[in-house]
Symmetry: C2
DNA sequence: CCCGAATCTGACGTTGACGTTAAGATTAGG
DNA sequence: CCTAATCTTAACGTCAACGTCAGATTCGGG
């Protein structure tokens, strides 16, 4: 039972029941005034918002993680009840997915992820307020150009990682071939069943 | 000055002078009886061994890290002086490189890396003691087969990661294209210099 | 043989990313 | 309106992977 090299990382302790969505109790969607949907707000149109429990379950993370992301400014729930309870949209959930992606795939820490997300948000804002805003075209050009630069920078680091993984994979394949050779050599010397 | 998204991770605090090899003082190679070179021992033939300072500098990690790796059983220096000071071979240094690779590329933790390295060592031992050892061919076959299985398992996780990175990259490219479109749109509306 | 540089072994400190209570507030269904 | 379920903030705990002393020991050149 050594089949546990990778593909965990999310099961340190975590008692939190972790139900994958709608398991027993209701806790389901609710509707609330998702204020300030204009400009930079995630949260589509009239979709059902989730409480932190359901959102965490959907996203596959803990409630604590969601609150922590909020503390660091990575993810502000698109709305909240008058009493101060967080309400997450589907867009919020996918944002969590992106955070996890940047974490596990690229190995960025949350501060770095915050930077990346901020720039992505900026681009979205530019796109949204493309003519609404009363900014000059020069402003727009500057912002877009800067975001382009940053995205390309990210792209180059990702590509470097990809190249590294490729060479790693090639190395591994070579090792596997050698192992297979050895195995065949032994098998030839003292043959056993083959499939 | 936002050009710091990735490509650091090794500069938290770290006062340790971090000289890249031969900077001021001597501390260079030394010769000592590298005991037990047979069977599983890294440490080529009559190469010069390094003290922990030089080794750490070469490998680009701290001395503490090297000692820590040893504690966890990831890397035992191929030799040591009668007084108990560690001596590292070039093979040891590349082992450190592999450790870092598994860390940063695949995001494995040191325990998982220990498992991987142990299996790689096992394979090397099998190769070395291919006829020297007085094991039966069945033994050899079993070991090689097991290692093959494990290597293929690792390979599949690596490939999954590669696929994930590829799709990430594709997504990023799409974003970049859209950004470029916006930029061109604005440039058309209010043209500035182009290069 | 001596001395300064390098290294040794503890042992405690740090940092990021949460986990885990605790005690009180909010919500939604009946 | 009541109550169980869900959520809130605040605070402390944890774990990996080292960083950072401190005091003793070892090495190697003169």
């Amino acid at each position: 039972m050594d089949a546990r090299i990778a593909s965990r990382k999310g099961q340190r302790k975590a008692r939190e029941k972790r139900m994958t969505a709608g398991d027993a109790v209701h806790q389901g969607p609710a509707r609330y005034g998702r204020r300030r949907t204009g400009a930079g707000g995630r949260g589509g149109g009239g979709e059902a918002l989730l409480g932190i429990g359901a959102a965490a379950a959907q996203a596959g993370v803990s409630q604590r993680a969601l609150r922590y992301y909020q503390q660091l400014g990575l993810l502000t729930p698109c709305s909240s009840t008058p009493g101060g309870m967080r309400r997450y949209s589907e867009a919020d959930i996918s944002r969590v997915a992106r955070i996890r992606q940047l974490q596990t795939l690229l190995g960025l820490n949350l501060d770095e992820i915050a930077i990346v997300l901020r720039h992505e948000d900026r681009m979205a804002a530019i796109k949204d307020a493309y003519r609404d805003e009363h900014a000059t075209d020069a402003d727009r050009r500057g912002l877009a150009a800067e975001s382009l630069r940053l995205q390309q920078e990210l792209r180059s680091t990702v590509q470097a990682k990809r190249a590294a993984i490729d060479s790693f994979l090639a190395d591994l394949d070579e090792r596997i071939l050698r192992t297979r050779d050895i195995l065949e050599g032994v098998a030839a010397a003292s043959p056993a069943r083959e499939d």
